[in-house]
């Protein structure tokens, strides 16, 4: 036993590692395969037993049919609009606050910083009823405001970006100041470009979070004009008149997960580095 073990990674070890890895990969890939396969079947095939792995004829038109069966274009545009607006808004509030916390000494700084972290650690579920009441007082329920405004800052982002700003050497900021930059100039031309990994990580993270969100839009939307795709998709699940149309549902599900996946793939390089270094502590 100990001979083999001591020569780790031994031949057996390498084999074991790869077998375990492939088992893991099957567990993760098979559901996705089943989803795409389902999206290309006929209604008959999708309910066949024993199951059919690959449809006899690929029903590519399922995608177009499913897309037309509900206002999915509208849902998707809503999702993208809401998410990008939130990200843009957060960028400003987060970068400004992070700069102040990283580079200034001011009265109450530590207290305010700790309060921000503590308050927002309290999850949205706990705060949902009062926020709902605030929004309805403004007559904002079932408008984009309800989906966007409560999300316009991010303590996690302030924490993450502040960490990155603190690592930028003071000399660089001083040099920019001597060249005539004011604080906003230093922020824009020195701090933000040098903190790109942290900022991109935070934005990718938040895009995924807000695009994927279901709880909040479910509560504050009532109409298809405003609904994001997560809520639209969940409603599409059970049509009133027919049974569950799994082939359409799988097609719509496949399309709806593409934006998150694309943003993740684009931001992956930064994202993984960002989580590995800073995210761990947040």
């Amino acid at each position: 036993m100990s001979r083999i073990a001591n020569s780790w990674p031994s031949f057996l070890g390498v084999i074991f590692r790869h077998v375990a890895m492939i088992a893991g990969a099957i567990l993760f890939a098979l559901p996705f395969f089943w989803m795409v396969s389902g999206s290309l079947k006929t209604l008959d095939e999708v309910c066949k037993y024993p199951i059919i792995w690959i449809p006899a004829k690929m029903q590519w038109h399922n995608y177009a049919d499913a897309w037309r069966a509900a206002p999915f274009t509208r849902y998707l545009l809503n999702s993208l609009f809401i998410t990008t607006t939130i990200i843009a808004g957060q960028f400003f509030t987060v970068v400004l606050a992070a700069y102040a916390f990283a580079r200034f000494q001011f009265f109450g700084k530590n207290f305010l910083f700790m309060s921000i972290l503590a308050i927002m650690m309290v999850s949205l579920e706990v705060r949902v009823i009062p926020i709902y009441m605030i929004l309805s007082a403004f007559k904002w329920i079932d408008t984009y405001y309800a989906l966007i405004v409560p999300m316009l800052t991010s303590p996690f982002g302030i924490f993450l970006v502040r960490q990155a700003f603190m690592k930028v050497p003071q000399d660089l900021a001083d040099a920019a100041a001597i060249d005539g930059c004011n604080h906003l100039g230093i922020l824009r031309q020195v701090m933000v470009p040098l903190s790109k990994p942290a900022i991109v990580t935070f934005m990718v993270f938040n895009f995924i979070h807000h695009y994927n969100n279901y709880f909040w839009p479910l509560i504050v939307t009532n109409s298809d004009q405003i609904r994001p795709i997560t809520v639209g998709l969940a409603r599409f699940r059970v049509p009133e008149d027919t049974g569950i149309m799994w082939h359409y549902l799988m097609a719509a599900t496949t399309i709806a997960l593409i934006p998150s996946l694309v943003v993740f793939i684009i931001g992956q390089k930064y994202f993984i580095r960002g989580i590995a270094t800073e995210g761990l502590k947040g």
């Binding site: 999850s123 579920e125 706990v126 303590p155 994927n212 279901y214």
Partner: protein, 294 residues
């Protein structure tokens, strides 16, 4: 040096101006709602009529109602299964990815993908897999000579099924955190322990696990908070059924507030969730001296 040479007054106000936009949203949508949630938990209110003060009445009603206790028990059951399984699974995947394997980047992206996509999509996909009459899972079970199960309609299997899906969805994220932790362990520690004759299993127990303990503390706290916030899977897949068996605290809160319109009672549920998580997090930080090595 423009700003730096401005008058003192403006200079002192600048940082406050910079944090103002963030503070505004944090106060309006963070601080005030937390205080208001507590206040609302002490009244009876249907969102429209006047609030009636009932003191701790909402809390008493909840604690005396079988439904709430069942939901609390479900949530504890979910957490007790979900947290260790997610951690074990994530650590195992991270150990694999940290070793010499082919196609590492591909596997990493694959394990990570369920966490990236919306939970609603995951829920719908798994409903199709768990479909009792023609689903993929029952087909496999029959292949192994086991009978099919009506997963989501079964009081026995619905919650374990949801736990499994939650583990499947969440493991990739924690795997990444563990991977980062593993890569921060100095190689010399393994070399030194190998010289002392430690086998891989001992190395894992004596080097890897202690060195990963800060990651484990973080993962533990985050995954407990996540478990107590679980909503999407239940809302899409079962609506809390069958017979309330998959009803979890946040879904129960949602039903109280936005289906039954009992704002006071729902706020009391929110406060109980907050209390449980605060006690848990505080206890972990206190206990962490005993098992976390920095």
């Amino acid at each position: 040096m423009m700003v730096l040479s401005q008058n003192d007054y403006g200079k002192r106000l600048l940082p406050y101006g910079m944090i103002f936009p963030a503070m505004f949203f944090i106060i309006v949508f963070g601080l005030i709602p937390i205080i208001d949630s507590f206040a609302t938990s002490l009244v009876q209110w249907n969102f429209i009529n006047a609030k009636v003060f009932v003191g701790l009445g909402n809390y008493l009603d909840l604690l005396l109602s079988g439904d709430f206790l069942k939901v609390l028990a479900n949530t504890c059951y979910f957490t007790v299964l979900n947290v260790p399984l997610t951690m074990l699974f994530a650590l195992a995947l991270a150990m694999l990815l940290n070793g010499p394997v082919l196609g590492k980047k591909f596997f990493r992206a694959l394990f990570f993908s369920p966490w990236v996509i919306p939970t609603v999509n995951v829920a719908i996909l798994w409903m199709y897999i768990l479909e009792p009459d023609y689903g993929m899972l029952n087909w496999f079970l029959e292949l192994l000579g086991l009978g099919g199960i009506s997963w989501l309609a079964s009081t026995r299997w619905a919650l374990p099924a949801i736990v499994f899906i939650s583990v499947w969805k969440g493991a990739g994220y924690f795997c990444l955190l563990y991977l980062a932790g593993l890569q921060n362990i100095p190689r010399e520690l393994y070399e030194a322990s190998a010289m002392d004759g430690a086998n891989p299993w001992r190395q894992f127990l004596r080097v890897t696990l202690p060195m990963l303990s800060p990651t484990t503390l973080f993962v533990l706290i985050v995954s407990v908070i996540d478990s107590f916030s679980q909503f999407d899977l239940v809302a899409v897949m079962t609506g809390g059924g069958p017979a309330n068996r998959t009803n979890l605290l946040v879904y129960y809160l949602y039903e109280r507030a936005f289906v039954a319109f009992k704002a006071g009672s729902a706020s009391a549920v929110a406060m109980i969730v907050l209390g449980i998580l605060m006690i848990f997090t505080f206890a972990q930080f206190k206990l962490s001296d005993k098992w976390v090595h920095y």
